[in-house]
Amino acid sequence: MSINLKRRNVATLIAGAPFIGMLPAQALAQGAKTLTIGVVSDPVTLDPALMASFFELSVQFNLHEPLVNVTPELKIEPGLASVANPDPLTYRFTLRPNLTFHDGTPIDAAAAKANFDRMMDPATGSPRRSELAPVESVEVNGPLTFTIKLKAPYAPLLQVLANRAGMLVSPAALKALGPDFATKAVGAGPYKLVSWTKNAELVLERFPGYWRGAPAIERVVFRPISDETVRLANLRSGTVQLVDAVPAQAVGQLSREATITLKQTSGLGFSAFSFNNTRAPFNDARVRQAFTSAIDKQSVLRAVNFGTGKVASGGIPPSIGWAHDPNFAPSKTSVEGSRKLLADAGITTPVPVTITVTNSPAQVRTAEVLQAQANAAGFKVDIKQIDPTSLITVLRAKDFDMCMSPWSGRADPDGNLFNYFTKSGPNNFMGYQSDKVTALLEKARAEPDQATRAKLYREAETQIAADAPMLFLTFPATLQASAKALEWVQYPDGAFRLQFAKFS
């Protein structure tokens, strides 16, 4: 009797083995349909015409598709359209045929023109307006062709159209949703929006009508996890399969872990702090220079970036090789120099300064390094912490003495400098008013010859360093990590483009 039972049990086991074997594989297949990503914070808006903060980067290229694309090597290639450039003032775009937005409405030249009209309309209040300032007109030539005519040559145009300014959205949806569009955006990207529960999750699902074809991964979920340690823990436990902004101190450990892929690349952006040039104490250039000269940037690189990245003296990173000058070292660290400058400025020491940062540990640590060094040079620094989504408001209201101003970076130096250092630039949170620099930057963006542009940018950077409206610290490396099973492409700007991702 017992032998028969045993045989039956064994038989059952053998018969059932294939099914048991299949279960984990099936579970993996189910899981492989959804990619969960741990990001630092929710985006502020999903409308590319209005995007102005760091946090939209992770999501924007998945929900939206620009007219042209930038490769990881910073080359331009066709996106929604291919482009011909018959003369420096004319760019002719031909949209791919039979494409629709996520809501099914057609992507045609009329839609493109509607997008540009909206971005350039002062009433929209779009940060894209200054990026498109040299555009004279957008003319529809045919159902799928349109021409952008410029007032003056504008070298960064394609780089700009490879980013937010080139992301076409559905005009029908804009009309129907009105201000709700910011949370329910309808674009042309590889994924369309399913739902967005703020501070919880943002869910996208693949769009079969995407011009490259439906992406491999069916669903993408963005989870804002502001604590960097918790984000990493979620990656290790498998709750998320991709994380942004890996803390620099974890690089050593992560590169030794078998189940995790760490990807590191030179970034396009910079880590910097804006001085408030419009009020005391930093309305005096000597006080700004005094603060700058008190800072040893190598210490920041060591204590905050743990050796990743590079020291920055200006806004053009080494990854933009043609425009970056590795010998550009406008200032030396000198505490006595700082004290002398403060004495020249006739200001009573210690000078009280408040540094505003978000509560990210790396930013707080940066602020503490600045605090220690500035306090030794005649300042008295307090640190004020705010939450990430308030940052852009504080910067725009100029409600700060010094405030963190990180920039994710663009493929063209104009993208790193123009909006910050021209008199009416939308990112000019410093209140910096320099006719000379504004003229240089406007000339550089209209100059077709690259070598001449490089010279103009060098001149501009030298003047900016002399005026010290902003304290440049480092060019951070882009540090991101994923589960080993995920194959994906890392871009220097740190933005995720998940149409190229799949589970192996």
């Binding site: 604590d227 340690t229 050593g252 204590a303 640590r365 605090q371 640190i383």
Partner: protein
Amino acid sequence: MSAVDASAVIVAPQGWRRLLRGLATDPRSAAGLALVGIAIVAALFAPLIAPVDPELPDFVNILAPPSTSHLFGTDELGRDVLARIVYGARASLFVGVLSVAAAAVVGTLIGLVAGYFGRWADALLMRLMDIIFAFPSILLALAITAVLGPSLTNAVLAIAVVNLPVFARLARAQTLVVSRLEFVEAKRALGFGTANILLRTVLPNIQAPLIVQGSLLFASAIITESYLSFLGLGAQPPTPTWGNMLRNAIGFLELAPWLAWFPGAAIFLIVLGCNLLGDGLRDRFDPRD
């Protein structure tokens, strides 16, 4: 946190010296006394005890493990951890003592008035206390510091507010009994003013359980300060508190685990000490003793 029995403890408080002697003989309360004593000494004499300036960074020597030059190692900015632990005692004790003292003074006054006068004063005051009591203490402390802004003083305020009802209820319960006793009635008949009766007669007779409660709440106040700092709502950098040291340590648990051990141990030991001390005090005041 055990609340003391609400029945009146009508024992004249023992002389302080006898009290201390009593505490010192029992091993558990002696341990509690020692732990709290060490923290008090560290807080009061920090500049003399700490080996270096706790806020002095050393960017070459970050995350150094414990060694002869840095007994507790250095943190992520190269600051000496031992010095920061010693100075951290100041923040913890500052918050603990001040918040409990404030809650005790104000809460006791409220309880005295409510218990003595009864009727609508009692109803009004106790409903106010109920409103505060209804909120989970963690949430209330968080909300207050978030609204007022992060700083050590606002943390003290928040914790004091959260602990008001405990003292108020305790004082009221004790007052209700004591104020009905004959010697209090006698004082009233003799024409003594209310303030005199409350402060000179009622209060000394109800203070024992309040002191015990205070020592227990002191421990919880330190924990509350720790998590407020942990969340960035307490003292701002570079001021060291054990809570914000723990917060900074979390990002470095792999590279430098000692950064978490030391502040964690400090918090654990002082809370243990306060609880042992509180238990010992309660035993000393117990009339059945």
